[in-house]
């Protein structure tokens, strides 16, 4: 809060003091300079001739893509089934890995705060920061192309996400219930099973469905690098510039994503 004296002697309200204003303007100046530099670099490595030609090319693609080649749908049922399996089995696999990691990462359940917890957090960060397409690339190099590589890629990629949300839920549980179970003389595992697990069950189910929804989206494009699912057909159609087939595939992907979102919203509404 500051005031400013006008030439005629009256004082008016201003939001920032002069020094605050200077700092703000410097911040804006640096920000704009960084942006201009970035833009120049992008501009340097762009062939502007193609960009000016873009409207014509876009029109050309649209005219080739319409009408979509609907009979092609019949070749897509099996890839869609594969895509669904990649998402579902991948989510299940990731939960199997994420639950122990979450228990090791939560402050109130970890066996050792200085040894085990950092390792669990490292697993969470590293699986989360690498995209599922990169995991798929890596797994294809290791175990060969196919649906299995896609399932494993989705599973590994989702571990960090699920474990992070789950360990936050574990840290927020009510301690009185845990103490009540412990007071009956329950063992460490019984405390976990009857004191902690029932409290995090709704969170776990919500996380699983939420991640399944995201995984449906991600599994549709895994085929681009050869990890199975409908992405394989997308990449094949793109390679031969069959835009009418591409249009069909994109519409199917949109429908699948919409359906996934709808199911997940319904299930989460029922749980919470």
């Amino acid at each position: 809060m500051a005031t400013r004296t006008l030439p005629d002697g009256t004082r008016t309200w201003r939001r920032f003091t002069p020094s605050q204003s200077v700092v703000r303007w410097m911040g804006w100046l640096i920000g704009v300079a960084v942006f201009v530099w970035c833009w120049n670099r992008i501009s340097e490595s762009t062939t502007w001739f193609f960009v000016w030609d873009a409207p014509r090319i876009a029109g050309d693609i649209i005219s080739r893509a319409t009408p979509p080649k609907w009979p092609y749908v019949n070749e897509l049922w099996w890839p869609i089934w594969d895509t669904l399996n990649i998402a579902t089995l991948g989510t299940l696999g990731s939960l199997v890995m994420a639950v122990p990691v979450a228990f090791l990462a939560a402050r109130n359940t970890t066996p050792s705060r200085f040894l085990v917890r950092p390792v669990a957090l490292l697993i969470i960060v590293s699986t989360r920061s690498i995209n599922s397409l990169i995991w798929a690339l890596l797994l294809i190099a290791i175990i060969g192309p196919g649906v299995f590589a896609g399932i494993v890629a989705i599973a590994i990629r989702s571990v960090g996400f699920c474990a992070k949300l789950l360990y936050e839920a574990i840290e927020e549980i009510e301690q009185t219930q845990v103490e009540a179970i412990a007071a009956t003389g329950a063992s460490r595992w019984q405390v976990m099973l009857y004191g902690i697990v029932p409290q995090i069950m709704p969170a776990l189910a919500g996380i699983a469905v939420f991640r399944w929804d995201i995984n449906i989206r991600e599994s549709t494009v895994l085929g681009l690098v050869g990890a199975g699912g409908i992405g394989l057909q997308l990449s094949a159609s793109l390679n031969v510039l069959a835009w009418a087939q591409v249009a069909v595939i994109l519409l199917i992907i949109l429908a699948a994503v919409g359906l996934g979102e709808w199911v997940s919203a319904k299930v989460r509404g029922a749980i919470i």
Binding site: F35, V51, A58, R128, I130, I143, G144, V257, G258
Partner: protein, 271 residues
């Protein structure tokens, strides 16, 4: 619990109540889930001998993380990383600038119905299409290079930020906005002094988060020719140069962790 209910319970062993109470629903769900799992697992073809052979390469890859090779392809890695960062920064700035007016327009308590519908439509389209698919289409239209990646990330940022921003504005405190309006402020002043201070902390937090997401996404755009580190990474995997790939992945993880740390500091300062 009445005493007669208690009497019947005395002497019986306590059992955990089931998660779903209705018996037919529970058994139907269990049976259906089991059936689906059997069908799904049966339809996945796994070449176990190939997987077994691959375990050796997997071990080689894990070993590569202990000896990452930053030097052999140092020039490629530096160029790719710089391009990824440049794309991320430029796309985040443009995306945030465009998503503010769209977010304002998509808030039902500020915008008239036609504007609201148009803005919500833009958000829905942007959220439904994945980055990589948008990138493929934009590469086909604008040619290879970081421009396509920049446009893709900007487009994705708009859907993400506008939606969350609109939800934040819709749940804002009306009293403050009305107090500013009661002083006789113009529409722009009303937004600037009555609405903006309320969503600013969240906008800054979300922008930092989106910067983080954009960097992660920029790492894969190179796979389809939209610029960034992805192309270098793809080449490294294709040539089984696991130590170079490990170096790139380590760089990505370190930058993402640094961004997360930075956004944590920024968020705790503005909130």
């Amino acid at each position: 619990m009445s005493s007669s209910e208690l009497d019947t319970l005395i002497g019986t062993r306590w059992k955990k109540p089931p998660f779903i109470r209705r018996v037919w629903l529970r058994s139907a769900l269990v049976l259906g889930g089991f059936l689906y799992l059997v069908l799904a697992i049966a339809s996945v073809e796994v070449n176990w001998s190939r997987v077994y052979e691959g375990l050796e390469r997997g071990a080689a890859f894990v070993a590569a993380f202990t000896t990452p090779d930053f030097t052999t392809r140092a020039a490629d890695i530096r160029e790719g990383m710089l391009e990824s960062i440049v794309m991320t920064v430029a796309a985040s700035v443009v995306g945030i600038l465009i998503s503010i007016p769209i977010g304002l327009g998509a808030a039902r308590n500020l915008a008239p119905l036609p504007v609201y519908l148009v803005c919500r439509g833009i958000i829905a389209v942007s959220r439904a299409l994945q980055e990589i698919i948008v990138a493929i289409l934009l590469v086909a239209i604008f040619g290879f290079g970081p421009l396509a990646g920049f446009l893709t990330l900007s487009f994705a940022t708009i859907g993400f930020l506008s939606k969350l921003l609109a939800e934040d504005i819709e749940s804002m405190d009306r009293a403050q906005a009305e107090a500013v309006r009661a002083t006789g402020a113009r529409w722009t002043q009303w937004i600037n002094y009555g609405v903006q201070p309320q969503f600013m902390p969240r906008l800054i937090g979300l922008s930092m988060y989106r910067l983080d997401i954009n960097f992660r996404e920029s790492a894969i755009l190179g796979l389809v020719g939209a610029g960034g580190i992805g192309a270098t990474l793809n080449t490294a995997f294709d040539r089984y140069e696991f130590d170079t790939a490990a170096a790139i992945l380590i760089l990505i993880i370190v930058i993402v962790m640094a961004l997360e740390y930075l956004s944590g500091i920024v968020r705790s300062r503005v909130q």
